[in-house]
Amino acid sequence: MDFRFNPQEEQWRKEVRDFFEREVTSELLEQLEAKGEEHSPELYQKLTQKGWLGLSWPKEYGGKGCGIIEMCIFYEEMSRAQAPIQDVYRHSIAYFGSELIALGTEEQQKHFLPRLARGEITCCRGFTGPEAGSDLANVQLRAVEDGDYYRLNGEKTFMLAHYTDHIVALTRTDPNAIPKHRGLTMFIVDLESPGVKMRPMWTLGGHKRSQVFFDDVMVPKGNLLGKLNRGFYQAMEDLNQERSGAFQIVLLEKYFHNLIQFVKKSRRNGQPLGQIPETRQRLADLTTGIQVAWLISRYTLWRQSQGMSTDKEAAMTKLYVSELSQRLARVAMDTIGPLSLLEYSGQSKEWTPLMGQFPWLYRNCSMETIGGGTSEIQRHVIAMRGLQLPRTKGM
């Protein structure tokens, strides 16, 4: 039993941290903010020079062969610096890259992997649709064989497509399949293809997500990823994605630290805020929650690094961390009071504490118990895989 990272891992953390501390400047973040963007292609390019686009891929595919623990550290440090490339990195390199390696044809691998590694192309995951949230097998985006192509018609929602040039679209190729899970297929689609249209969908937290419309989009058969009608099962395989959620806890810890700093220097009705017993009690709960989150997360990470199953543990981590983040946002706003209502813009800027971090967190954390599997689905997974309870009718 040992709860520490080893010296090589600490060394790797330092290297990654130094890089992002240097590269993610406040100017960079402000420029993006002014443009209303959240991805920096310039920073993303810089990862090419480091050879970090493809960290987790095996060496024979041009990667660095990093293990789960090294990847976790990498994500943590990207997150700590709030590097504006994290989503695109995860989707392009971790998701699409791993899918290509596991499922792609030699041709697909030769075409896409080097381009991904050079940062020339990016690709988002395209599973969810308006009709397929928790019930992913209900995907309705239709793909019909048409000569050397598949013809796509339908829609995807909540996509990262505004920041990428490709999408791995999960489509319905067999509308009569029983069960419906057996009729889905993945395609790699160039978002420049004729017939693709996009509309931004803004989240409450200010993330630009996309509604992607497919209107007779012709996708070459060579872009079918994996096997025909096996798309659902391919989507369910996590392909050794890092699942500890640690990158989120890093941020929570940072926000909590900021809240403490605020409490230390603020007064309420003349009394130092930090002396109000109820406030102290609530902060004690939060810091305990963060400690617990770390342990569950690290346990998940360790299991994964040992090749053990992590279905239950990853679901627990996701559930705990996302709910903790909402708890933090709510308590922080209660604690800060009316000042926490002021967004960091216009005249409000003069008053807003912590650059409006908490109104933003409150808005943004609403997403965390929904995206990537709702809390209800996580509880379902814990109940099924962890506690071996019988299925509810319809689930």
Partner: protein, 375 residues
């Protein structure tokens, strides 16, 4: 990073588990908890033979030189079966107090006998108005001819009725001040121990101890005169055992709930297929998982000699909330049968609350954590 127990630790767990399954079935627990019978001393003697009273005692004092991770493993298993035993008060609290504060002679006198199970020690610290802050103790110790005269009343003394010795906190009379600890024999003239009736089915054996002019010689002072508050650190360290016991109890309560809901049929289906129950069981499992790792993290830090006052307090907060919540939910999901005295769920329901209260006031625990936030 290694979240795995060592082979020795796994073997230790297995031997504790197997032993308790065999020697401590629900009937044994019920004899003590329900019928108010004596602790099963035969079981205690067997544990002594197995060396399990020596988990914290170094080899040079007749022990095995285990560490806090071993203690946590032992207590997690003990909590699962609700082991009725004065093990905690004597072999953990008492032993740790002597080990941390005692002089060489005291260590040699008490530790080997604690290890062999021939002697019981308990702490007599709290009073009716002084349960969490030793400074408020009113029991007095007045110096007189090379000895001290103790007067006062102690309350909530765990396993007091079995103790041979009471480690008693008393306030020195003028001119000295401060709290001092005295090791006082049960047969001292003027000392009387009276058992109290505690929360039904909790298995907790609390006593009142009266001191009326009890004479204690200098050699029975534990630690430095006037520095008796250092015992709170000992109690705090020892509580990781209570936490582990509680999480073991929570694990068992969840298992019983899963078994019950799977087997129970209503509306022609097993009620375990209802999401209204499944999601709550998932929450129970999550609370247990996080709590368990927090406890082992603290146990590991303690065994490494790494300071962990804050983490330890967090473990107390987290464990109290978890066992209480899990036991209440488990009881609810058992429906009518779960609140019948003949059902073992009632034991967990009471035990959870009792151990939580013993851990300390939740407000105090949170306040202690807040203090380390330095706000």
């Amino acid at each position: 990073m290694d979240y795995q127990f060592s082979q020795e630790q796994e073997m230790f767990r297995k031997s504790v588990h197997d032993f308790l399954q065999k020697e401590c079935p629900p009937a044994v627990v019920r004899d003590v908890v329900e019928k108010g019978k004596d602790y099963p001393w035969e079981l205690y003697r067997k544990m002594a033979e197995l060396g399990w009273l020596q988990l914290l005692i170094p080899e040079n004092y007749g022990g095995m030189g285990g560490n806090w991770v071993d203690v946590a493993i032992f207590y997690e298993e003990a909590g699962r079966v609700l082991l009725p035993s004065p093990h905690f008060t004597s072999a953990i609290l008492g032993a740790e107090a002597i080990l941390a504060l005692g002089n060489e002679e005291q260590k040699n006198r008490y530790l080997p006998q604690i290890a062999s199970g021939d002697l019981f020690l308990t702490l007599a610290l709290s009073e009716v108005g002084a349960t969490s802050d030793l400074k408020t103790v009113t029991t007095s110790a007045i110096a007189q001819n090379n000895s001290y005269i103790i007067n006062g009343t102690k309350l909530f003394i765990q396993d007091g009725e079995y103790a041979d010795w009471f480690i008693t906190a008393a306030k020195l009379g003028p001119p000295d001040t401060g709290i001092t600890l005295f090791i006082i024999n049960k047969n001292s003239i003027g000392l009387r121990c009276i058992p109290l009736n505690s929360l039904l089915f909790s298995g907790l054996k609390l006593s009142q101890v009266n001191y009326e002019g009890v004479n204690v010689t200098m050699e029975n002072i534990l630690g430095d005169i006037g520095k008796g508050e250092s015992i709170t650190e000992v109690v705090d360290r020892a509580r990781i055992a209570t936490c582990a016991e509680m999480v073991g109890g929570a694990e068992r309560a969840l298992e019983m709930t899963i078994e019950h809901t799977k087997q129970r049929q209503q509306f022609d289906v097993s009620i375990s297929s209802f999401q209204a129950l499944q999601h709550r069981m998932a929450d129970m499992a999550l609370a247990i998982e996080g709590t368990r790792w927090l406890i082992y993290y603290v146990a590991w830090l303690q065994s490494q000699g790494i300071s962990c006052a804050m983490e330890r307090t967090m473990a107390q907060l987290q464990t109290g909330e978890t066992y209480e919540k899990v036991a209440a939910e488990a009881t609810q999901m058992h429906g009518g049968v779960g609140i019948m005295r003949e059902h073992d769920m009632t034991l967990h329901y009471s035990r959870a609350k009792a151990t939580k209260v013993i851990l300390g006031y939740p407000e105090d625990i949170r306040e202690t954590i807040a203090q380390s936030l330095d706000i």
